[in-house]
Amino acid sequence: MKNDADMNTALMVDGNAVAGELAQIFGRDMTMAVARCAGCAKDAELGALMAFTRGPGVVLRCPACQQAIARIVETPSAIYLEARGATFLRMRPQP
């Protein structure tokens, strides 16, 4: 690790790693749901977002432009999901 940027890259995982938290919130697998980035308008599956999970919460970032798409924080009494970095989420209807 030469500098902070390398360190941050090394700590990054895929959105797939927070599939459990997302399933707890949405009640279904969300890794194949698509988010459109409000910053650059690219679409990406949630499983393919850049995920930073070593902080007090989770930050999901756009793999194309790195903008924060969503943040998830869990407290003893509540789960917060902030997703203003997404224009929309698109998912298949449940069968």
Binding site: A10, V13, G15, A17, P95
Partner: protein
Amino acid sequence: MATEVLVRPALEWQAGTVTAIRPETHKTKSFTFALPKWMVHRPGQHYDVRLTAPDGYRTERSYSIASPPERVGELDLTVELIPDGEVSPYMHDVLMRGDQLEVRGPIGGYFVWDVAMGGPLLLIGGGSGVVPLMAMLRHRTAQHATMPTRILYSSRTADDVIYRDELDRMAASDPALEVFYTFTRQAPADWNGYRRRIDATMLSEVIKPFGNRAHIYVCGPTLLVEAVANALVQMQLPTEQIRTERFGPTGA
């Protein structure tokens, strides 16, 4: 009462019972769990494991499933010991056969492959990134599938290779499967194969017979996955055929 088929039961925590613990290498062990609510998984999926301290502090980690879905009622998680970690030292040093542990899964629909998706199949793993790839290979073998398959597996030394015997056995009895090892720190003295980090030259050699048709799965430490994914994209391989799973700063 009619049998109720739960197609999509809620993902909930359950107490898994450890029925076997098997050392794989000097820093990885496989744990077999029997689950009261076992559910068939897709190769590549993971389980979350949760520990709760007496004071209520909780922490959880995700571990890839190593066993194939054909093994009904139980599953294997192969866990690398991270010495300053919160969950893996407990599993390695404290957990014993017969103990219970809170788990939730199977999780994830992104980094998955099953025989219905077809081939050719190219698996690229670094360190314990081989674990979900092994679930895919075990599933492929259990289904007697014959699509051309190659795995490129990077380890620091020969002692760090997980599942070595089984991989070599599988390859010896299956003409459609080829295993390529590379050693990044120290190769065995008589080694004729790769002895460096995975690079573009190595990737193009391994992928060559598949052209641009391969389904590609890359799993390992984040920097390895980054390097491999970037090289594959520069080789003009279709990005929708490349699936990655980064597991952070640890590993080979």
